[in-house]
């Protein structure tokens, strides 16, 4: 993946962001290429969700530049699929799974959606792709965290994105469901050639399919391979305090701070 000849899908060039007068990130620099799987790691409040909002065009960088498909990010870009962090779903959740997935197709369009065979077929295909066909008629409120997450991914896939931005899809999943979710995302990326930015607090479930990690902490960021980034020295520098990285049975543990 290192020598990919094609230009990067996404480029951060020394991009900084301030929110409410507070510096969230000083200078993020990294590139993301086709089919790459990159985990975005860091403690609460490090700016992971903010990073995704910058890519979505929901926020503008206060310094530096972001190039997405060679252009400045803007909202309404169908080439990105996005699932927000769960807590943003606040309203009543009585809607059917099928309708929620359908938002990904035409939820942004004015007017009403009339029943339509082609539309239904596309929704069905997206549901199949996330192994969620059996959930189609269920009401969203009855579903488990993992099932909901899969539906949101199906929704994100409906615009045939080249880049998937997933904000903590593993939140509230136990280890085996987390591994299932990661395998699902990995399969989607391989069959579709989609690049993935995967925000997570625990790197272990994503270790098997990871190309790189982007670690955010203390207003700074580093991109690199797991071996290069998740080290005692590097994390101690990012956090500005003593951090210990331990390896045991192929799993990584970061001690001394919250991740």
């Amino acid at each position: 993946m290192e020598q990919t000849p094609s230009p990067p899908l996404l480029e951060f060039i020394n991009a900084g962001i301030q929110l409410g007068g507070q510096v969230i990130q000083k200078g993020i620099t990294f590139s993301l290429y086709r089919e790459q799987f990159v985990a975005v790691l860091g403690p609460n409040g490090a700016g992971k969700s903010t990073l995704l909002k910058l890519i979505l065009g929901l926020l503008k960088p206060t310094s530096g530049q972001i190039r997405l498909f060679g252009e400045t990010p803007r909202t309404g870009n169908r080439r990105i699929g996005y699932t927000p962090q769960f807590s943003s779903l606040e309203a009543s959740l009585t809607l059917r799974a099928r309708d929620i997935v359908g938002f990904g197709l035409d939820g942004h369009r004015w007017g009403m959606a009339l029943p339509n065979k082609m539309r239904a077929a596309k929704i069905t295909r997206a549901l199949e792709e996330v192994d969620g066909l059996h959930l189609a008629e269920a009401s969203f409120s009855e579903l488990s965290g993992g099932e909901r997450q899969r539906l949101l991914i199906a929704q994100a896939l409906l615009s045939d994105p080249e880049l998937l931005l997933l904000d903590e899809p593993l939140a509230s999943l136990d280890m085996s469901h987390a591994q299932e979710m990661v395998a699902l995302v990995d399969r989607i990326r391989r069959t579709r050639g989609t690049a993935v930015l995967f925000v997570t607090h625990d790197v272990n479930p994503v270790l098997p399919c990871l190309d790189k990690v982007l670690y955010l902490a203390g207003g700074q960021s580093t991109l690199g391979t797991v071996q290069d980034v998740i080290t005692t020295d590097n994390l101690s520098r990012l956090y500005g305090s003593r951090v210990e990285v331990l390896q045991s049975e192929g799993r990584l543990f970061v001690l001394g701070v919250d991740t």
């Binding site: 979505l56 065009g57 929901l58 909202t75 309404g76 990105i80 996005y82 699932t83 927000p84 962090q85 943003s88 779903l89 606040e90 309203a91 009543s92 959740l93 009585t94 809607l95 059917r96 309708d99 929620i100 938002f103 035409d106 939820g107 942004h108 369009r109 004015w110 007017g111 009403m112 959606a113 008629e137 009401s139 969203f140 949101l152 929704q155 994100a156 615009s159």
Partner: protein, 269 residues
């Protein structure tokens, strides 16, 4: 003698039909957005406006419209999580009610026109008023047809909708303004006390019965129509206030649906 023999009954049925349709549709979105409390507060705020207008010698309708719109504007500006938002709405409502009481006490004598807005007068609707209702309903109906999908998307997931280019804030504000207009149109008929019944009860029942948005909206409207027609008919024959029957019937239907669902649930298990 036919219930439609008198013109005032014809006007009442026409106005009630429009009110029920508006309430049924608006209520569905209030529930989807988790904003039923705003639907409760706006009529109360509007009543304060009506009382103020009566005190100052204006039409209570003008006060009603101005206050509900201002209330909607204030609510649209509130940020934060829903619980905190509802706290602020509660404070706005309390302030408005205090003002309303003050205006009523300042008015020399019995502020009849203000009380008319509080309790409504379905049976005293004129032909001209039903025409205003009809035109208002048409525009509000067009808004909902136009905004249906993005409004639903933005209600479900504001972040994802925003990322897909839905102007979520503007749309949320527009929805509140429309809700304020619905309240202002309905309050003189049902009374500010009972607008809430039509805004919430039919849609609450409908969303319990179906998860499909289109079906829920239609069912909500059908239920609202059934409620007001039955209530009007009962009120006509018993020579009583329709508002009581609307609220009482709504409660009974809601109770019946919940009991039936609890029974079904146990039977399935």
């Amino acid at each position: 003698m036919s219930i439609f023999h008198f013109e005032f009954m014809q006007n009442a049925f026409l106005a009630a039909t429009l009110v029920a349709a508006l309430g049924g549709v608006t209520g569905f979105f209030l529930i989807q957005r988790g904003m039923t409390f705003a639907g409760h507060a706006l009529p109360g705020i509007g009543f304060a406006g009506a009382a103020g207008a009566v005190w100052l010698g204006f039409s209570p309708l003008a006060g009603l419209v101005v206050f509900t719109l201002a209330g909607a504007g204030g609510i649209a500006k509130l940020k934060g999580d829903p619980r905190e938002r509802d706290l602020h709405i509660g404070m706005i409502l309390v302030t408005a009610l205090a003002l309303g009481l003050l205006f009523l006490s300042l008015y020399p004598g019995f502020a009849e026109p203000a009380y008319a807005i509080l309790f409504g007068s379905l049976l005293g609707i004129s032909k001209g008023e039903t025409q205003v209702m009809a035109i208002g309903s048409l525009f509000i109906g067009l808004f909902f047809v136009f905004a249906f999908r993005p409004l639903l998307f933005a209600s479900f997931d504001p972040q994802a909708a925003g990322a897909r280019g839905v102007p979520t804030r503007a749309l949320g504000a527009a929805f509140l303004v429309v809700t304020a207009l619905v309240v202002a149109l309905c309050a003189p008929i049902t009374g500010t006390l009972l607008v809430f019944t039509l805004l919430v009860a039919p849609s609450a029942i409908a969303t319990r019965l179906t998860a499909s948005p289109l079906k829920a909206v239609l069912l909500s409207v059908v239920l609202a129509e059934g409620l007001v027609w039955t209530a009007l008919t009962l009120a006509y024959f018993w020579n009583s206030v329709p508002g009581f029957f609307v609220a009482a019937l709504a409660f009974l239907v809601y109770l019946a649906v919940r009991l039936f669902q609890a029974y079904e649930h146990r039977r399935v298990k």
